[in-house]
């Protein structure tokens, strides 16, 4: 067994152990910590599979933002009473059987792929020059299947709307609870003051570089979101009121600009969601810039949650 194979086995074993720990942990905090570790290791596995873009997204969204979302939700739910009866053994057995079935089908499908597996990667690469991009992943996201990506951004907006709608009617238009305690750690305030600007620059660079190297709008936006959340946790700024105009504009800017560009396709290039030849890259970067804005705004809003005070307070 080569060194690589041994490492792969070890990584897989640790990941499985962490997954088991996430499910079996008795307290939510422990489960979420295990989940974040699981996400970090998954990111490393993605790098091992030569997929750095996916690795970045996994680290950013899968383990970073989702972990913080889960822990915020659990602290909010803390004071609430637990459900009266924990799920019975039959329900647990049924859920386990269903999960095992799905995992088994996926594993069989992957193991029985013909060798070499069918793939569109060579085709995607062949036409890369026409898009003006150097990164095939970005080309797939924004050029080849741009409609899907736009719909994903719409889903993000819907998610934020869904989170907001959980608030009682009288709180509509107000601001969510602050992300940090009244007297934040001075170390955290220091971090927010120094790291946030640097992180913001790195986030923008990550988006810009995504045209030609691993990176892109989602990764850059997630980093910007993390920086804004750190500033809010240090209480240097507060979550905005959900009725604020600029906030709503920023939220819909991404899918909005994307849709407009797609609708302009028939005029500019002959069909819906087509880009004008030779001019594709500037248009793509223009769309991506607004997508970064929307992602950077929606993710912290998802973490901040529904408003819990009246508008005007």
């Amino acid at each position: 067994m080569t060194l690589f194979e041994a490492l792969d086995f070890a990584l897989a074993a640790i990941v499985l152990g962490l997954a088991a720990r996430t499910i079996s942990a008795r307290r939510v905090f422990g489960a979420v910590v295990a989940y974040v570790a699981y996400g970090l290791l998954l990111a490393i596995i993605w790098v091992r599979l030569y997929a750095p873009d996916v690795a970045l997204t996994e680290a950013a969204i899968g383990s970073g933002v989702t972990g913080v979302l889960l822990i915020s939700a659990s602290t909010r739910l803390g004071p609430l009473a637990a459900p009266d009866a924990p799920p019975g053994a039959a329900l647990k057995a049924g859920a386990a059987a269903l999960s095992a079935l799905v995992a088994g089908i996926l594993a069989t499908a992957v193991l029985y792929l013909p060798d070499p597996a069918p793939s569109l990667a060579p085709e995607a690469d062949a036409h890369l020059a026409e898009t003006g991009l150097g990164n095939a992943v970005t080309a797939v996201l924004i050029a080849y299947r741009s409609f899907d990506t736009m719909l994903e951004k719409v889903v993000l907006v819907l998610a934020v709307a869904g989170v907001w709608s959980v608030a009682p009617d009288r709180f509509w238009g107000g601001a969510p609870a602050p992300l940090g305690p009244a007297a934040p750690d001075t170390a955290l305030v220091f971090l927010a003051r120094i790291l946030a600007p640097i992180g913001a620059v790195i986030g923008v660079q990550m988006f810009w570089v995504g045209a030609d190297e691993p990176g892109g709008a989602f990764q850059g936006g997630a980093i910007l979101a993390a920086m804004w959340m750190i500033v809010m946790m240090a209480r240097l700024t507060e979550p905005p009121r959900i009725s604020s105009g600029w906030l709503r504009l920023a939220l819909i800017a991404g899918p909005g600009v994307f849709l407009l560009a797609g609708l302009a396709g028939p005029v500019m290039a002959g069909s819906f969601f087509a880009f004008p030849p030779g001019f594709a890259k500037p248009v793509i970067l223009f769309i991506e810039a607004f997508m970064v804005l929307s992602i950077a705004v929606s993710l912290p809003l998802l973490v901040a949650g529904p408003p819990n005070r009246e508008a005007g307070r």
Partner: protein, 93 residues
Amino acid sequence: MNDVLLAAAGITLLTVGAGLARVLSGAREVDGLMAVQLLGTGGIAALLLAASATGVAGVENVALGLALLASFASVAFVNASRTQRGSDRGENR
């Protein structure tokens, strides 16, 4: 040389992975948090070593992103538990 670096990357990963035994063994939650922090830093070191050894594009960017996001997640966890206690005492206004 590349093999040495890759071996170092693997050893680092396995080492900090062993720290996850803290997370898996169900000790105090704060120990699990520290294990995750160590995993993050070890993961970054392993990624940098692998980037230098294999020359695959973009792995350093992943390490940079991981650096920012791992700190963010750890800080958010400690902050969340403090906020919980603060709101229990009615501080969060």
